[in-house]
Amino acid sequence: MKKSTKIFAVIAAAVILAAALGSAAVSALAYRGISEVRQAVEQSAKDAETSNTELKDFVSESIDEMRSAFSQEDVAQENDVCIAQEYWIRDTSAISEAYKSGDTSALDDKQKETLKMASDLIDEIITDGMTDEEKEEAVYVWLTTKLKGETGMLTVVPTSSAESGEPFGVLKYRTAVCVGYATTFRLLMHMMDIDCMVVHDTSLSHSWDLVKLDGEWYHLDCYFDTGATYRHFNLNDAAMSNDHEWNTAFFPKAAGVKYNRMVRESVALDDIYALPEFVAGKLKAGEEGFSCSFGDLKEEDHPAAMYMITRVAELINMTYDDMSFEYYWTQNSEGGLVLCMFCRKYESDIPEDLDEKSIEKVEDSLEKAFGDIYFESDGYSSGGGFGEIGG
């Protein structure tokens, strides 16, 4: 028996058992991952009534949903797509429509609570007179700086709550997996009447957003931009496809560069040989994202330009243990090449309040004791201890 069939059998079993016990209002049952199926079934068995027709409808829906969840095959649709076999991309238009109409009568309690949290957030970060781009950026900055990204979905038996994949859990508990970031962003955009879609990748492992500004679509990925790095903020298809893969036949084409912040704020350099000094200056200033163009960069100069940026990246990545350097090429509205660069500093394990003298004394005593096997700390080693001093 396949996994989907087995799980369905368990659902059906519990629901029918619940029916036999005279309970279960199952028609409105919404379920997601395996763990939630179980909870939902147990809940249904506890507290409601049903008829055989309701049961049959529920069972029929269950089969479709479970087949979809475990098929691991891409589907040409935006909603009702299961990512990482656990987190569902669900339609939230009922909530955004209720926000716009002021009529919440069709919402259940969980949706009403989601609406309240989302409304409060809009009141907090959106001000009168903001353009759509400013609203979009305000939401992007909030999501990428206020939420804690969840990686529990990478564990064999996922440890992330299914609620971190939906706006309710994201806004309530401030933790999110990719689906949570993407669906919450879309909900907030829709509430503000800005077109937005949730995109999923072809391997059903990841999701992000497409947002429409001035008639053109742009990609943005809040999950990967923790700390508001703008690495994946308002990118076109070409730039996004550097590290994302999706069904380009189904999702709308994103070709614009007008709202790509990196393109708009790029600095015009005389030629590619000015790049090292430009990058070194940005690193010194502590900037994490910067971009430049090269005036009239001819095609015959492209190999030298590629070699230059490859060497810059190599030099930085090999020199700085606490930093990763990434870049991508894109084009501005005139067709000129723009080089977008991102430096991310890792957090050091060395306590902030530790002075240089103390570090030196610790290192000296370690070297004296361990001799040949001693090595200098890179500041990021993982110790084996637990807890705080005095804790």
């Binding site: 079993a13 029918i16 990478l154 564990t155 038996v157």
Partner: protein
Amino acid sequence: MKRMVSIFAAALAAMTLLTGCGAKQPAPETTPAPQASVSMYDLSEAMRSAWGSESELAYVSSSDDNAAEELAYVTETDYEKVDSFFMLYAADGSKSADETVVIRMKDEADAQTAADTFSAHVKSRKALYDVYAPELAAEMDGAVIFTEGSFAVLIVGGNAEAAREAFSDFIGK
């Protein structure tokens, strides 16, 4: 009997009443599993030790209340055909891809089918790591899958060969 099995059994009875259909199936002939007396917990400890994973490991097994759900994360094997199982895996999957899964089937003839389902799991895990932790994706390429008698085994990361040897030694092969 575990709750899940109880629910399933009750449901089958109820389903028959509700639908009035379902031909009676003959009871399948099963081959007694030769390693039926092996303690799965002791086996897991022997393999854990040889495997040498440096990760903090989580352990789940057929002794758990939600065992069927836990196993469903790694295999599509029909749980009704599973005798017992254990899974050892990195408690934080974002730091390590290490995992060992051992399933003992009720019927030895089903072991290969169970092992075959591990491939889909490995493929799915690799796709996840490709997106979120590319440095761990290569670990999935080295996944070791094999069967021995009624057992189907998957080992990712650590010293897979040592773990496999420990497995063979333990079950007396």
